[in-house]
C-alpha cells in the first residue's frame, strides 16, 4: 500500500512518465525498397547508440526513428519511439510535440493537450505547440481555453495569422460574427490568398444577413494583391519606446511590405542601439527587397568585420549573390556559413538549402543531393529539402525516388503547398506512372488545386496529368484553359509555342512534349516562378 501511494504521488507530479518499451517493429515486407533501406539504416544507428545509454543521443535516435515511422504512418511504432525518447531525454521538447501531434490525430485530445502543455513548460515561446493546443481546445468546444491560448500567441507574435483565424472561428461558433470579421479581416491582410478565410468571412457576413457580401467572398478565389497594412502605428503602441520597439515595428512593417516605413523605423532603432546587429539584418532585407543590392552587400561586408562568427552574414552574402545570379560566389559564401557554426542547426539548415539550390542551378546535382540529404538528417521535418531533392530527381527522371520525395514533402508540409503539389503532379505525368495509388493521389491533388486555386501552373499540370492518364477530352479542356491564361498574362512566344505543341499532342491522345525544369527557391521576386519560367 505504501509503495502504491508513493508511486501514485510520483505519477501525480510527473504526468508524462513512460517506461521504456520495446519498439513494435512494423511489417515492412510490402513496403518500398527505399523505405525499407532507410528503416534498416535507422535501426542500425539506433542499435549502435542504444547500449551507450547517453540520454540525449539515445533520445535523438528514438526520436528520429519515431519521425520515420510517423512519416510512413506506422503510428503504433512512432508512439512507442517518441515515448521512449521522452523517457530518456525528457527535456527535449521535440518528442513531446511530435507525440502530441500523433495523439491528436488519433483523437486522444486530453493526452495531446497535456503533451503540448509540457512542451511549453520547457520552451514557453514555442508557438507551434501553443497554436496546436489552442486548435484542439477549439475543436472540442472549450472556447474559453482556446481564446486564452490564441491571445497568448498574439501577445508574443501579433501577426500570427493562425491565431487570428482561430479567434475568428471561435467568434463564429459563439455567434459573434462582427468580432469574427475583425479577426478574420486582420488575418486576411496577412494571408490574402488563403481560401479558408474567404469561407469563414462568407459565413460571418451571412450571419449578419449581408448575403451579397457573403456570396462575394465565396466567389473570391484568393486575390494575390497585397493589401497595405495601415495599422502598424496602432501596433506600435503595444511596445515600449526603445530600440527593440522600433526594431519590432520595422519587422512588422517589412512583413506587410511597407518598406519605406520599415526603413524609417529600423534606422531609428539602429540610431538608438548602433551595436546591435539584428536591426541591420532587417535593413539588409529592405535593401534587397527594394533592389538596392549594392547597399545590401556594403552593409553585409561592414557587419562581417565586427561579427566574424555570426553565420548569418556569410549566409546573407550567399543569398545576395544568388539573387544576382552569381551562383559560384553564392556557393562559396554558403560553404563559409557552414564552417562557422556547426552546432547552430537553423543556420546550418537554411545555408544547406541555399547551397543546394545554388548547386542545383549550376547543375552540380550530385553535390546538391548530398547537401539536401545531410540537411534531412539535421531536420527531417523540413519539407523544403524533400521538395528540392524531388525536383532534382524529377529533372534527372529518377521517377520513383522523385515521386517518393514529393510525397514526403507534401506530407511534411502543414497545409497545402501549391509548388510542391504542382511538381508532384507534373512528375507523375511525365514519368508515366503505373502505380494506381500514386496516379489517384496525383489526380486528387490536381482536382483540389484546381478547385481552390486554378493558376496557370495548376491548370497546365492538370492537363499534363490527364493526358498521361489517357483522358484526352479533359487534357484538351485544361490545356485550353492554360493557353487562355497564358495569353491573358502575356506569356512569351516560346512558352506559347510549347503550350500549343502540347495541345496538338493531347488532341491526338498523346502526352506532354515538354521536359520538366528543376524548381527554383522563390527568394527574389525577379526569380519568382513567373509564367515565363
Amino acid at each position: 500500500m505504501k509503495k502504491l501511494l508513493i508511486l501514485t504521488l510520483i505519477i501525480a507530479f510527473n504526468p508524462q512518465v513512460f517506461a521504456i518499451t520495446e519498439i513494435p517493429l512494423p511489417d515492412m515486407s510490402n513496403a518500398d525498397t527505399n523505405i525499407v533501406k532507410r528503416h534498416d539504416e535507422l535501426i542500425a544507428s539506433f542499435k549502435q547508440v542504444k547500449d551507450k545509454k547517453e540520454g540525449i543521443q539515445l533520445g535523438t535516435v528514438y526520436g528520429e526513428l519515431g519521425m520515420f515511422y510517423q512519416a510512413h504512418e506506422f503510428t503504433n511504432a512512432a508512439q512507442v519511439c517518441y515515448k521512449n525518447a521522452i523517457e530518456v531525454s525528457p527535456f527535449d521538447y521535440r518528442w513531446k510535440y511530435l507525440l502530441a501531434f500523433i495523439q491528436a490525430s488519433l483523437g486522444l485530445f486530453d493526452e495531446a493537450k497535456s503533451l503540448y502543455e509540457s512542451v511549453l513548460k520547457i520552451n514557453a515561446d514555442y508557438l507551434p505547440a501553443k497554436i496546436r493546443w489552442a486548435k484542439i481546445e477549439l475543436d472540442t468546444g472549450n472556447f474559453s481555453q482556446a481564446r486564452k491560448l490564441y491571445q497568448e500567441v498574439l501577445e508574443i507574435a501579433p501577426d500570427f495569422s493562425k491565431a487570428l483565424v482561430g479567434l475568428g472561428t471561435l467568434s463564429l461558433q459563439e455567434n459573434q460574427p462582427k468580432k469574427a470579421i475583425e479577426y478574420l479581416e486582420q488575418a486576411q491582410k496577412l494571408q490574402p490568398s488563403a481560401n479558408q478565410l474567404n469561407f469563414l468571412l462568407s459565413q460571418a457576413y451571412a450571419a449578419l444577413g449581408q448575403d451579397q457580401k457573403a456570396q462575394d467572398y465565396l466567389k473570391n478565389k484568393g486575390n494575390r494583391t497585397v493589401i497595405m497594412f495601415d495599422k502598424i502605428l496602432q501596433e506600435m503602441r503595444l511596445y515600449s519606446v526603445s530600440a527593440s520597439y522600433y526594431a519590432q515595428a520595422a519587422i512588422n512593417a517589412f512583413l506587410n511590405k511597407d518598406f519605406p516605413l520599415s526603413e524609417q523605423l529600423v534606422n531609428h532603432s539602429i540610431e538608438l542601439d548602433p551595436k546591435n546587429a539584428n536591426p541591420k539584418f532587417t535593413l539588409m532585407n529592405i535593401y534587397l527587397s527594394t533592389d538596392r543590392t549594392e547597399k545590401a552587400i556594403e552593409l553585409a561586408k561592414s557587419l562581417l568585420k565586427d561579427n566574424q562568427n555570426d553565420d548569418r552574414i556569410p549566409y546573407s552574402l550567399g543569398l545576395i549573390n544568388e539573387i544576382n545570379g552569381n551562383d559560384k560566389e553564392a556557393i562559396l559564401w554558403y560553404q563559409k556559413t557552414l564552417t562557422i557554426n556547426k552546432t547552430h542547426k537553423t543556420a546550418q539548415k537554411t545555408a544547406q538549402i541555399a547551397l543546394a539550390n545554388a548547386l542545383m542551378r549550376t547543375k552540380q546535382f550530385n553535390e546538391a543531393l548530398k547537401i539536401l540529404r545531410e540537411s534531412q538528417v539535421v531536420d527531417s521535418q523540413n519539407p523544403y529539402t524533400y521538395f528540392s531533392e524531388a525536383s532534382i530527381l524529377s529533372y534527372l527522371k529518377v521517377c520513383d525516388k522523385a515521386i517518393d520525395k514529393y510525397m514526403q514533402a507534401i506530407k511534411k508540409h502543414s497545409g497545402e503547398n501549391l509548388t510542391y503539389l504542382v511538381g508532384f503532379v507534373k512528375t507523375v505525368a511525365m514519368c508515366d506512372v503505373k502505380d494506381d495509388i500514386i496516379n489517384s493521389n496525383a489526380l486528387n491533388a490536381a482536382k483540389n488545386m484546381y478547385l481552390y486555386s486554378p493558376t496557370f501552373e495548376v491548370v497546365q499540370a492538370f492537363a499534363m496529368l490527364e493526358a498521361s492518364l489517357g483522358h484526352k477530352t479533359e487534357a484538351v479542356d485544361y490545356q485550353a484553359q492554360a493557353i487562355f491564361q497564358a495569353l491573358t498574362q502575356g506569356a512569351s512566344k516560346q512558352l506559347m509555342a510549347a503550350l500549343k505543341a502540347d495541345m496538338q499532342s493531347y488532341e491526338k491522345g498523346g502526352k506532354a512534349t515538354q521536359a520538366i525544369k528543376p524548381f527554383d527557391l522563390d527568394i527574389n521576386p525577379k526569380r519568382a516562378n513567373s509564367i515565363n519560367n
Partner: protein, 560 residues
Amino acid sequence: MTLSKFIGLSLVLAFVTSPIRATFKEEIDTSGIDFVHFNGMSGQFYFHEMMGGGVALFDYDNDGDLDAYFSQGNMIDNISIDKAIFKPTAKQLLGDRLYRNDSHGKTIKFTDVTQQAKIKAMGYGMGVTTGDIDNDGDVDIYLSNYGNNQLLQNNGDGTFTDITQTSKTNDPNWSVTATFLDYDKDGYLDLYVVNYVDYSTSNPIVCKSYDGAKDYCSPQGFKATNDSLFHNNGDGRFTNITSKSGIIKEREPGLGVVTADFNKDAYVDLYVANDGRPNILWLNNRQGGFINKAMTSGVAVNMSGMPEASMGVDAADFDNDGDVDLFMTHLNRQTNTLYINNGKAWFSDAGIRMGVSSSSFKYTGFGTKWFDFNNDGYLDLFSANGAVIKESKQITSPFPLKQSNQLWKNLGNSKYQEVSSLQDPSFLTPGVSRGAAFGDIDNDGDIDILVGNNAGKPQLLINNNTEQNNWLGLHLVRNDLHREDLGARIETSVDNRKIDRYVKRDGSYASSHDSRVLIGLGKLNDKNKVKIKIFWSDGTSQTLTYVKINTYQTITREDK
C-alpha cells in the same frame, strides 16, 4: 485528463452511485432475423465490397407494424464462392431478404418471407428505398445496386413484381442510394438515384495502405458518375430526365441523399452528400429542374473550405426554428458536420459548438438520423460507424474495419452530449456498420434502430426508454393520392416550445425508414391540450385540436 486527476475523480465516483439509463438494447439474436450480410470479398479488395449494407423498415403488408428489408452482396464476375473469405453458411441464403414483423407486445419476432413475397434480388445490393410509386396504398421498393438496379412493385397481396424493365428505372451505374420525391407536384413520386464512381472489377485499380499491403481504394482514384432523375409518368413508367432537369451538370461521387424544402418555397429540394468532393444542394427551380446552390449556401464544404467524406446525411428542424438543418457523417479524422439553416437556405457549420464534432473524430460514420429517442421533444442523433481504412488494432483480422456506434442526446440548450456508453453494453458491440433504418418496430411509442453491418449480422437496437414521456404518433395520408404525404410538415408546441416534424422515408445511408411521425411531447403539463397544424405537400393546411396522445393514428387530409 492527467493521471493524477483521473485517480482523484475515480475515488470520488467510487462513492457516488449514479443510475445508468440503458435505453437501447441489441436483440437480433432473439428476433428471428437470421440474415447475415455477405460482401463477397475474396482477397482482391474490390472497392464495392466494403460499401454495402443498406436496410429498410416499412410496412409492406399494411398490418400496422414495420417489416425489415436487407440488401445483400454476392460474388461477382463469376468468381467462385469457394474463394470467398467469409463463406456463407448453409442457412445463409444469398439475395436480398424481407422479414415480416410478427411481434406481439414486447416480444420481437420476425419471419423470413422473401420467397413468399416472390422477391428475387440477386444483384450486388447497396441501398434500399421505399415509397408508393403507383399510389395504390402499398409501399414499393427500389434497390440500388453495384450494377443494374431493380424496382419491385408491391402487389398488395404480400408479393412483389419486378417492373424494372417496363418502368424503365434501371440505372446500370454503381448506385448506392436513392429517394422518392414529387418534385413537380403532379402527385406521383419521382425517383432520384445517387451514383458513386465508375468502377469495374474487370480493370481494377490496385490500392495500397501505408504499409504497402493491398487495401481498399478511396473514390479519388476514379471518375465520378452522374446521378439520375426519373420522372414518374403515372402509368407505371418513368422517363429519365437527368439532362433536361439539369442534374447532369454535376458529376460527383454521391453516397447519401435527403429531400426537404430547404428554402421554404413549398417545393421539395435535394441534398446530396458526395464522398471527398463538394456536396450538392439541388434547389428546385419550380420549372421541372434543379440548380446546384451548395457553394453559395455554405453546404458544399466544411467551415475550413474543405470537402469531406460525407457518407450519411439527414435533414430535420432540430432547433425548431421553422427551417430544415443538415447533419452529415464522415471519415475518421474528419468530424461530423451540423449545418444550421438561417431560414433562407444559408447554412453555417456549427458542429463544434453543438458538441457533435470532436466525439466523432475516431470514427467513420455512415447511417445517421435525427430522432427523439426519449420523447422529450428534442431531436437526438445516432451514427452507425464502421471504418473504411484498416484499424491498426484489428490488423490480424481479415476485415479489420469494426467500430462501435454512437448516440448523442440533445440537451435542449443547443448542445449535444454523447451517451453511447450509457446504453446497454450490447449497443457498443463493434461492427462494420453501414445502413441504419429508424422506426417503432414494437409499436410502443419510441423509435428503434435497425443497423446493417457489412459482412456480419445486423443489429436490432430496441428502445426501452424508461423516461415515460408522452408522444404523438401520426400517419399522414393524402386521400386523393392513397398514400402517405411525403414532405408534409407537422407543427405543434409543447410547453410553449414549437416543434416541427416532417413526413419522410429518406436520409441516413442507403436505407429507408418508417414514414410515421413520432413526436416526443415530454412530460406535458396538460395532456388534453395538444394541438397540431399539418401543412400538406399540396400547400393546404389543417389544424387539429385535442389530438390523442400516446397512440398511433392515421390522419387523412379531410379529417378535422
